[in-house]
């Protein structure tokens, strides 16, 4: 049994204090969200450009949640959960991407 100690992000005994990283995460998520809204309602990019950028902002939001709220870097032994989550992201990309590709039925028969 692996007993590598978990990385402790915060000292256990510390009382009170201010949750700086949580506040930072919250502010970041607000900024990213407002950014996406602003892009859609006020910017003059094309449909695909906008789509690309707001999807990118959404991916950043994942990182914000993972890093600031979900303590993804905390681990107890090897970080299997990060590997599996990474693989999951890859398969999400495959499922959505390939479904669009397949279901577009560009049969190209001439």
């Amino acid at each position: 049994m692996s007993t590598v100690p978990a990385k402790a992000p915060a000292p256990e005994t510390h009382q009170g204090g201010f949750p700086w990283s949580h506040v930072a995460g919250y502010l970041l998520s607000l900024v990213l969200t407002i950014g996406a809204f602003a892009l859609v309602f006020h910017a003059k990019l094309s449909f695909h450009e906008t789509l690309f950028v707001i999807l990118f902002l959404a991916v950043l939001q994942i990182l914000v949640q993972l890093l600031f709220f979900m303590h993804v870097t905390e681990r107890h032994g090897p970080s299997y959960h990060m590997m599996m989550f990474g693989l999951a992201m890859f398969f999400v990309f495959v499922i959505v991407g390939a479904s669009i590709w397949i279901m577009s039925f560009g049969s190209m028969v001439s």
Partner: protein, 303 residues
């Protein structure tokens, strides 16, 4: 029938089976290995290549298995070498990582070429003159096949006639559950799907009657979804078209709707079909949203 017990049925079946075996002689033909046109021919070439390349691996495996099992079997006084800790050999491992990679590489390349080629009308080296392809619209229904000839304005059920040496463009759709259109001697299958037009290029090089059947299960009448593709010379084909156009009844909208209901029918011919019957099926409901490529839509609307 209802009185017979399952056991009785079983005995009767077995008895019937044995007697039928004795009475019937010979085997069916390996249709896939006897293609009658360039498409089936091209697919068969790939199959032969696959057989050859996989045999390169399979046969040594089987021989090795036999030799190893016989030689290293544990029997008293066996003189065969015993090396319980021998478990690594880089050279050997590299060899059998690399051989399959090479085989897959070759097969993958050929597959890719053929897959793209099959989306084009068959090219016939023996008949290089450009021939106008024939278009046939095929609708699978519960449980029959409707063939419409948009340029000839005739329709048939459960059989169709095509001219030899001329590429035929089958445009496939379904008015009911999805099926698949398969004429093994002419070439591989393609699904017929509601709301979609699928296109399949086939061509017959010699006259004959070719067996066709639905390829995807559609319910209780599925086993009866057989049809024939009859290949004839150009003149005979034209004569046939003329005779159908002159002698056969019309297919009215009412009869079409009746036909779309589940039933099993024999072969039928019609001198007309309801205008836009095929297009209406394709574009009804879900079909509106599917991507139908422009060439195809033009060919439909240009009639």
């Amino acid at each position: 029938m209802k009185r017979i017990t399952p056991k009785g049925k079983l005995v009767a079946t077995l008895a019937m089976g044995v007697s039928t075996l004795l009475l019937t002689s010979g085997c069916g033909q390996l249709l896939v290995f006897h293609p009658a046109g360039p498409v089936g021919q091209s697919e068969l070439q790939l199959i032969w290549l696959q057989i050859a390349l996989t045999a390169v691996v399979i046969i040594p495996v089987l021989i090795l298995l036999a030799i190893i099992v016989i030689r290293y079997r544990d029997r008293p006084g066996s003189k065969a070498v015993y090396r319980p800790d021998w478990s690594e050999n880089r050279t050997l491992e590299i060899i059998w990582w690399v051989i399959p990679i090479i085989i897959v590489g070759i097969l993958g390349t050929v597959t890719a070429k053929k897959t793209f080629a099959l989306t084009q009308p068959p090219k016939n080296p023996s008949n290089p003159t450009v021939v106008q392809p024939l278009t046939i619209e095929v609708t699978s229904m519960d449980w029959k096949w409707l063939f419409q000839y948009p340029n000839q304005q005739i329709a048939t059920v459960n059989y169709c006639v095509i001219p030899t040496n001329r590429p035929v463009q089958f445009m496939l759709t379904s008015n009911g559950p999805m099926n698949a259109f398969w004429v093994p001697q002419l070439g591989g299958m393609e699904y017929t799907m509601p709301g979609m037009i699928m296109r399949l290029w086939l061509q017959a090089d010699k006259p004959g009657i070719y067996y066709g059947h639905g390829g995807n299960f559609t319910g209780q009448g599925f086993a009866q979804m057989q049809f024939n593709v009859q290949a004839e010379s150009e003149q005979q084909f034209n004569a046939w078209v003329a005779s159908i156009a002159n002698n056969s009844p019309q297919l009215t909208q009412g009869e079409y709707d009746k036909m779309a209901q589940p039933s099993i029918l024999g072969q039928m011919s019609f001198s007309s079909f309801p205008p836009n019957a095929f297009e209406n099926v394709v574009m009804s409901e879900g079909g509106k949203y599917m991507k139908h490529d422009q060439v195809m839509m033009n060919s439909i609307s240009s009639k």
